[in-house]
């Protein structure tokens, strides 16, 4: 318990530091870098959504891209139909959450295995891609927004504040994205420290034992899945704001795979891991886009293969364990407490 409180304090301090940094960033970097940083931050929010449901809930969703895309589309459609941005932003979280609730009901209340969850979420994403792709023409309009099929929706209106009518500049988008990342991060930390969060982790560790203690794993998994869907939707909204554009490609296999890779290399069972993983891979993909020799899929596939084979725990837990081992070695010779158990169980064990 003391550890949790301490770790929460550290988190809050770090969040405060991050907020100060984010607030000062526009003074020090040019607009182009700030714009790039905005999309990285939006992707980090997306990574957190999977980092939560996979790393802590043990739910292997290959379809976070579906919620991401739905959130983006919900915002875009809403932005064309409402004058200020309150309703569109709420829609961008609500629509994916409802979709997650519906899909999750069928998956978790059917008690299907993790492998099947992966397959079904992936399939749903692929079919959403086909559906949205086919919505070209005037027959597919929602209010005054044309879905546009393969071409997507261009020039999506940005954030407009209610009452004042103030329209956001690129700098404001950065503040918004960074603020969302910090709020989501701290919010998830608090959620994990709450009773609900502990039950979710307990179910990941041992579903049978948790249900024998009176917790319904189906319900808790469903709720965690819905929370993840909402966060992914928010990320989709931020992404659409950044480019003022959304197209069906974000439902593609490439997006789904990237989300998995961020969480995998960052580390399962941590929140900071997925954030760092998302930023690192985004930077890498941007670099690859600037040259002709290597294909991005080729590099990402190779990275995923190497991590599964060599470092399945991810970078952050491995570094933490390494530091802990060094710390113990440094203290050897002095009488101390018995070796503490590893802070993070191996994902292979946790997920099997």
């Amino acid at each position: 318990m003391i550890r949790t409180v301490l770790s929460l304090r550290v988190t809050l301090l770090c969040a405060l530091g991050a907020a100060v940094l984010a607030g000062l960033a526009p003074q020090f970097v040019d607009t182009f870098t700030l714009l790039q940083a905005t999309v990285f931050v939006a992707m980090a929010v997306l990574a957190l959504s999977l980092g939560f449901i996979w790393g802590f809930g043990g739910i292997l969703s290959f379809g976070q891209a579906a919620f991401f895309g739905l959130g983006g589309y919900a915002y875009a459609v809403g932005a064309f139909n409402f004058t200020d941005s309150t309703v569109p932003v709420i829609l961008s979280m609500l629509v994916p959450m409802l979709f997650a609730a519906l899909l999750g009901y069928f998956m978790f209340y059917g008690r299907i295995s993790n492998v099947y969850v992966g397959v079904i979420t992936l399939t749903v994403t692929l079919i959403l891609f086909n559906v949205v792709n086919s919505t070209a023409g005037d027959a597919y309009r929602i209010g005054s927004a044309a879905l546009g099929g393969f071409n997507g929706i261009p020039s999506v209106p940005g954030i407009t504040l209610p009452f004042t009518g103030y329209a956001f500049a690129p700098e404001d988008d950065w503040y918004l994205a960074a603020g969302c990342l910090i709020v989501v991060f701290v919010g998830l930390k608090l959620l994990l420290a709450s009773h609900f969060g502990r039950v979710v982790v307990a179910i990941r560790e041992n579903e049978v034992r948790a249900s024998l203690l009176g917790y319904d794993p189906r319900l808790y998994k469903l709720l965690a899945f819905v929370v993840g869907g909402g966060i992914a939707g928010l990320a989709g909204c931020l992404y659409t704001l950044w480019g003022a554009f959304i197209s069906p490609t974000i439902f593609g296999l490439a997006t789904s795979a990237q989300i998995i890779i961020w969480v995998m290399i960052g580390g399962l069972g941590t929140l900071i891991g997925p954030v760092l993983g998302a930023v690192a891979i985004q930077v890498l993909v941007t670099e690859i886009g600037g040259q002709q020799l290597l294909d991005a899929n080729f590099v990402l596939g190779a990275i995923l293969l190497v991590f599964v084979l060599v470092l399945p725990a991810g970078v952050v837990p491995t570094v933490e364990r390494g530091v802990a081992a060094l710390w113990r070695r440094g203290r050897r010779g002095r009488p101390g407490p018995a070796e503490a158990p590893a802070a993070h169980p191996l994902p292979g064990k946790a997920l099997s």
């Binding site: 998956m107 299907i112 492998v115 086919s134 795979a257 899929n297 596939g301 190779a302």
Partner: protein, 288 residues
């Protein structure tokens, strides 16, 4: 009457293509309980093998029926030796690794052949049903699908390898105690599953655009079919293909092909809710 015949033929073709694209996946899933997420890329490699060899003057039948399965089968064995074997018993990691492999193959093929769509002309001509025309290739695909299913029955039921394979499928440790090497059975299974997938890729090359990312057009349906069918290779694939193929084609006929796919997905999701272990988890238990 003519229309009914054509719709019937379309349903038949839908069922046949589901059998073709999912049988290889089902063989691997049924025997080893792993989902190969690089399945679509195996199909793509099969299609590329056919297109490339046909463009280099090889007879198209030889390319489709021999070169594609042999090539992809060899790729499958290579993958099993280097990747799958290391991850035995870690189902989730196997999925992730095969997904990495899928991206890797797509990237590699894009780097070598470029992101362009290739194709080969459809062999066999067409025929007339009243006011409608259809081509002979569709019934040919249905015939091959049927032969493949029969082949699975014959191999699993009447050969020594089939006996060993079924034993390993049911209880690997017991089979191992009786002197079977499960390791080799798994290698052969993966190779055969990949070869069947390669054959399907080759057969589908004339009727689909061959591009590095073509796999993702097929995998959704293949996964649904295998998950819906359950663990039995033959009964699962056949029953799920029959059910989903009919639903998909009738849905496409009544709405659009895309919404036909949505209807297929909704049907599959409902099915999973009612029968979490697939059709063969409840019916035809213990069948092949």
């Amino acid at each position: 009457m003519d229309l009914a015949a054509i719709v019937g033929l379309n349903v038949l073709s839908g069922i046949a293509s589901l059998v073709l694209i999912s049988l290889g996946l089902a063989i691997i899933f049924g025997m080893m309980k792993i989902i190969n997420l690089a399945h679509g890329e195996f199909l793509m490699l099969g299609a590329y093998a056919t297109v490339l060899s046909t463009n280099h003057g090889v007879n198209i039948w030889f390319a489709m029926l021999v070169i594609s399965p042999v090539f992809v089968g060899l790729v499958g064995i290579l993958v099993e030796r280097t990747l799958i074997r290391v991850l035995y018993g870690r189902l989730v990691d196997t999925m992730l690794a095969t997904w990495g492999l899928s991206l890797f193959i797509v990237g590699l093929v894009t780097m070598i052949f470029g992101n362009t769509i290739n194709g080969v002309p459809t062999p066999l001509g067409g025929f007339q049903v009243g006011a409608y025309r259809s081509d002979l290739y569709t019934p040919f695909l249905a015939l091959v699908a049927l032969l493949l299913l029969c082949g699975v029955v014959v191999v699993l039921r009447f050969t020594r390898f089939g006996l060993i394979a079924r034993a390993t499928m049911q209880k690997p440790d017991m089979a191992s105690a009786l002197g079977v090497d499960p390791d080799r059975v798994y290698m052969a299974t993966f190779g055969i599953g990949a070869a069947v997938t390669g054959l399907a890729g080759g057969l589908l090359a004339p009727v689909s655009g061959v591009a590095p990312t073509m796999g993702s057009a097929f995998v959704a349906k293949a996964f649904i079919t295998v998950v819906g069918g359950g663990a039995s290779i033959l009964a699962g694939t056949a029953s799920a293909s029959l059910l989903f193929g009919s639903i998909n084609q009738m849905g496409s006929y009544l709405t659009t092909p895309v919404f036909g796919e949505v209807i297929l997905l909704v049907a599959a999701t409902l099915l999973i809710r009612v029968l979490p272990e697939g059709i063969t988890g409840r019916f035809f238990r213990g069948s092949l």
